[in-house]
Subunit: 427 residues, 2 copies
């Protein structure tokens, strides 16, 4: 494979025109859509409209006239189509962390109720050691509050770690570091056999691959708006609950917009039906307007085969990246940690064996105009370079150019430049 | 007083030029800034910049380069100057409901720790029956979880209702219906004597009147970004904690950006110092950019005397409204429920005695181009018409025109029009 071969793949790519939906800086190879998705061209105009017309002219009337009040639901219904949920099962609200708090609390309450409110021997929340920290922190908080134990296992031993003590299995579908994907159907089936409920964080899979929450038998899910959904920095998150749990869904963030009749201003909380009760306070409209545009960039892929077609392109991009990386960079100690099997998401991470400063390598690659990111680990030997491939806008030629930049940095030791050796706050 | 007298007051108003900061529709009298503040002219451009330049061109780099990561703190420091807090004591995050959950939980944990973790006789959260429902709902949730009792008293009997059982006094500074303001200093002093902590919701007072959280001895406060702070629909909220509580501040929404070292991605939660631990997930940048512009419209009043000068204008506007309303509308049964004393915020509410449909009156007034809102109560006899006066942009002539429209609607029974008699979802 050379650059021309990659360009030929782009020329033959039936999804190539979807890139036109985005504003991307010229001369930049952006491979960090797994952290912040690119800007949909529609978002700037939609925000102007929401600001000047809806807020400026419509003012308070826009809660009705512009449909602001239903944004959490309309957006939720759109997102449902991407993750194997149904209309009325998803709302858009708050952050991933806060939504996780809601549904993990709800799942634990269901298990407590099942045990008759007694302290039960089913007292474990099972997760994996390498889960994204915010998920572990939220689980730590709730386990302490509600008298559960958070038990962490290795990624590959989740199924073997379930037993009659498991109340909830809480996992991120695609790991933020390794890019490894859990087999959701298998884990859900095993959890159901063990009497446990499942809570999935779709942060690194929603919008990157087809997800079948119903088909695969999940109980609860949350996810992020600012990665593959292209919703903008800090975009609101989403939350899904299987309808079989709706009637007994008890969540503790009982804000007024989760009330059955919020505009009656009743003194006593009474939850709205279904997932509407997972809405808490007033929705951040401007951020939701941007997210709406982001979700629309994925819905625009429907005529081209939708998420399955995007998944095929994603797998092809990441496979090509791994192949080129092995061919050109193995000699410098590059060691890919992302699975070569299809049990992976849409980003690829690698370590670099040896003494060199991996963070500095990433900074040098960025200085070459290829943006990925660095994820620290417990020790310097655990630090990973991470590159995300958004099938809506990344090209095969981007893959070639990225590997070329990485190889060049490693070959010329250009990472060994004082500019790159100090650590920034955020990468 | 006639319209010309009001126009003369505007001509002599040293704060009049501050209105130029806002985009307001011509021919509309907007008196609902207590529900959604008007659009700052700067916000549209700031959002364009945040979208096209920071998100579109800067992409992930803008977390550092555009300072997105510090927005919760920079905005918090600005808001601190408006509410009598100090730099480093306020962060901007999430919604008012969620921030209330954090600090009410923290306050109750402090009281539990004080009782040695035992079930204590200090087991009451005291609030007022007419508090904004979301505050009561959040308190109901936490009281159930943590074994406290939520006790509701009448607005005027808060001080008498405190006793040795009171753990936390949770109040909204200015009531969303009546507009009555609590004497924060007196209540804090009484709470301190009783051994209780105070949690204040500043939704209807931040940006409308000077607040002295330190001077008046408060413990915790939360507030809203979309009312008098002009932050846009569903703008993020803020939260303040007195520094004497920072070291033991335990809040349950333990998201990654409240961690001491979020970019170490450690598996165990360790809270950041001070109020940074009140940040949970990734901040909604676009909504925060708009809020930043809104807060700046208040800081622009500093050379003109700042919040005390705005307060004087606010009192003058609401006093004029009440005087004109009594003079021209008392004959139709208009009964003002907002205090004539200075124990009031910046909105005025009234009932209308008799049989007429108050909601329809409000709709007819809106159809006349004067926007206020309607707040339902437990019974139709409790429904209130509510008009907010934002001293940054409302004019004395607005007051005259509003009363003129109300009087005209009542005199001509134009509310008795079928168009106005059905209830919309949101008002």
């Amino acid at each position: 494979m050379n650059r021309n071969d990659c360009a030929a793949l782009d020329a033959a790519d039936p999804l190539a025109s979807l890139r036109e939906q985005f504003t991307l800086p010229a001369e930049l190879i952006y491979l960090d859509g797994n952290s912040l998705g690119a800007l949909p061209k529609a978002a700037a105009l939609a925000l102007q409209c929401a600001t000047l017309q809806q807020w400026g002219d419509g003012l308070i009337r826009s809660w009705n006239d512009a449909g602001w009040i239903d944004l959490p639901n309309r957006l939720g219904d759109k997102i449902a189509t991407l993750i194997g949920g149904k209309a009325g099962e998803v709302v858009c609200a708050d952050s991933t962390s806060i939504n996780l708090y809601k549904v993990l609390f709800a799942a634990l309450q269901i298990q407590l109720a099942h045990a008759g409110g007694q302290t039960s021997t089913r007292n474990v929340v099972l997760s994996e050691r390498e889960n994204f920290p915010t998920d572990l922190y939220i689980a730590q908080s709730l386990c302490t509050q509600l008298g559960f134990e958070l038990r962490l296992c290795e990624s590959e031993s989740v199924k073997q770690s379930m037993d009659s003590s498991t109340a909830v299995v809480m996992l991120t579908h695609v790991n933020y570091r390794s890019g490894a994907a859990h087999d959701m159907a298998q884990i859900n089936a095993q959890a159901a056999r063990a009497g446990a409920l499942t809570v999935w964080d779709l942060a690194h899979s929603a919008g990157a691959m087809p997800i079948g929450l119903h088909a695969d038998g999940a109980d609860f899910a949350v996810g992020c708006g600012y990665k593959y959904l292209n919703g903008g920095p800090g975009a609101p998150a989403f939350v899904w609950a299987h309808p079989k749990h709706h009637a007994r869904l008890a969540q503790p963030l009982t804000g007024w917009l989760g009330h059955a009749q919020p505009f009656d201003f009743a003194a006593q909380y009474q939850p709205a039906a279904g997932v509407q009760r997972l809405v808490c306070g007033t929705p951040p409209v401007l951020s939701m307007v941007a997210l709406d545009c982001g979700v629309d960039t994925l819905l625009a892929a429907q005529p081209f085969g939708g998420m399955p077609a995007l998944r095929q392109k994603s797998l092809a991009l990441t496979q090509l990246f791994m192949q080129l990386l092995r061919a050109r960079c193995a000699q410098y100690g590059v060691r890919i940690v992302t699975p070569m099997t299809e049990h992976r998401g849409s980003h690829v991470s690698f370590a670099i064996d040896g003494e060199l400063d991996r963070y500095a390598v990433m900074q040098a690659v960025i200085a070459r105009g290829v943006i990925g990111d660095f994820r620290a680990g417990g020790t310097p030997a655990d630090g990973l370079l991470r590159f995300g491939f958004a099938p809506l806008y990344n090209r095969f030629e981007d893959v070639w150019l990225a590997v070329d930049a990485i190889a060049d940095v490693l070959q010329n030791a250009s990472w060994n430049d004082a500019r790159y050796l100090s650590r920034a706050t955020v990468t």
